[in-house]
C-alpha cells in the first residue's frame, strides 16, 4: 500500500494505491486521522482509483475518518471508487453515508 498526499489550497488529496487490509489499514487510519485531527485540514479528499482491495478494517478506517471530520466540522470526500470498493461500501450500507464523486475535478468542485 502506498499513500501520497497533495495539497491544493486548504484541501488535502490522499492518493491510495494497492490493497487496504489488516496489514495496511493502520497506516491509512493514522494518516487520515492525522490530517483531520492534528492538521485540521478543512477538506480531505481520498482518491481510491488505484485501490485493488479493501477489507472491513479499511472500511472502519474510512468510517473513523468520517466521524473525525464531522467532529471538527471539516469534510471527507471520496472519488474513483473501483467496483471492488463500491461493492464493499454497498454491502456495508455506507454508499449513501459518504460524499462520493466520480473524479477529482468533481470532488474539488463540490
Amino acid at each position: 500500500m502506498q499513500i501520497s498526499v497533495r495539497r491544493i489550497d486548504k484541501t488535502a488529496i490522499l492518493e491510495l494505491t494497492g490493497s487496504i487490509d489488516l496489514s495496511s489499514s493502520p497506516a491509512v487510519r493514522k494518516i487520515l486521522l492525522n490530517e483531520l485531527r492534528e492538521s485540521r485540514t478543512p477538506r480531505v479528499i481520498l482518491n481510491l482509483e488505484k485501490v485493488k482491495y479493501i477489507d472491513s478494517s479499511g472500511v472502519a478506517s474510512l468510517v473513523e475518518g468520517l466521524r473525525a471530520s464531522r467532529d471538527i466540522g471539516s469534510r471527507l470526500l471520496l472519488f474513483g471508487l473501483t467496483p471492488v470498493v463500491r461493492e464493499v461500501l454497498q454491502i456495508s450500507r455506507l454508499l449513501k453515508i459518504f460524499e462520493i464523486y466520480e473524479n477529482e475535478q468533481q470532488a474539488l468542485s463540490a
Partner: protein, 217 residues
C-alpha cells in the same frame, strides 16, 4: 462395480493396504469419472483412501493417500502480510471452479475476513501462530437439485470467540468495526463455528449457482 473388499488396482495390478474401498488407483480413478461420482453418491468419498502408485514410484514406493475432493490446503502463520497470498489463492481457485467474477470476489472477501478475525481476535495479533485453510469440492449428489460448491475449513489454536461476537452487529449504526462477520455471512451459504480440543474450526460453504458448472479436472 465392487466398492468394498478389493485392495488391488484393477489396471495396475498393485495391492495396497491403505485402500479401504476403492479398487482403482487414483490415476485410474481420475480417468473414470463415472466410478468417481458413483463413489460420491454413496457417501464414501471421505472414507476412501486412494493409492497413488505413480507418486509412490517416484518417492521410493512410499504410498501417499489423497482425498479426491481436496482442492487446496494452506498452512501459514498468523502474519497479516500473508493475507494477500491467501486472497490470491482463493481468487484463482474460485475462478477455476466456475464461480463468476463477483462470486469469486465475494468468497475471497469472506475468507480474508475470517483469517483477519483469527489473527486479530483468536491470536490477539500475535504473529507466527498456526492457521490451516483447507478447501474441498462439494459434489452434486446424484438425482439432487443441490448445486456443487466449495467448502472451506479454517482452523486455528487461538482463543475461541465470545459467542456474542458471532452474532455480528446491526448495520443501522454508523461506526467502525464489526463489519467482517457481516461480510462473511453475506458471502457464504453456510457459516458454522465449532471449537474442540483447543482447535477452533470455521466451516464456510458456497454453492455454485445453477448457471455455473464446475470444470471437471
Amino acid at each position: 462395480m465392487v466398492l468394498r473388499g478389493s485392495r488391488r488396482c484393477e489396471n495396475h495390478d498393485r495391492e495396497n493396504s491403505s485402500i479401504e474401498f476403492v479398487p482403482l488407483c487414483y490415476h485410474c480413478l481420475r480417468k473414470n469419472s463415472r466410478f468417481f461420482f458413483a463413489l460420491r453418491a454413496q457417501g464414501l468419498e471421505r472414507r476412501a483412501l486412494i493409492c497413488t502408485p505413480h507418486f509412490a514410484q517416484q518417492a521410493g514406493r512410499q504410498v501417499y493417500t489423497l482425498n479426491p475432493d481436496l482442492l487446496l490446503k494452506l498452512e501459514f502463520p498468523s502474519n497479516p502480510e500473508l493475507l494477500c497470498v491467501v486472497r490470491g489463492a482463493m481468487e484463482r481457485l474460485t475462478e477455476r471452479m466456475g464461480f463468476s467474477e463477483r462470486e469469486s470476489r465475494s468468497v475471497t472477501r469472506a475468507v480474508d475476513e475470517a483469517v483477519t478475525n483469527i489473527i486479530r481476535h483468536a491470536y490477539r495479533g500475535q504473529p507466527n501462530q498456526p492457521i490451516v485453510l483447507t478447501c474441498y469440492r462439494l459434489p452434486k449428489a446424484v438425482g439432487s437439485e443441490l448445486a456443487q460448491g466449495l467448502e472451506i475449513v479454517l482452523e486455528d489454536q487461538g482463543e475461541p470467540p465470545d459467542p456474542g461476537r458471532l452474532r455480528g452487529r446491526s448495520l443501522d449504526e454508523i461506526k467502525p468495526g464489526g463489519l467482517g462477520l457481516h461480510y462473511i455471512r453475506e458471502s457464504m451459504d453456510v457459516v458454522e463455528f465449532s471449537s474442540s480440543g483447543g482447535t477452533n474450526q470455521l466451516r464456510l460453504v458456497r454453492c455454485l449457482r445453477p448457471e455455473n458448472t464446475i470444470q471437471d479436472s
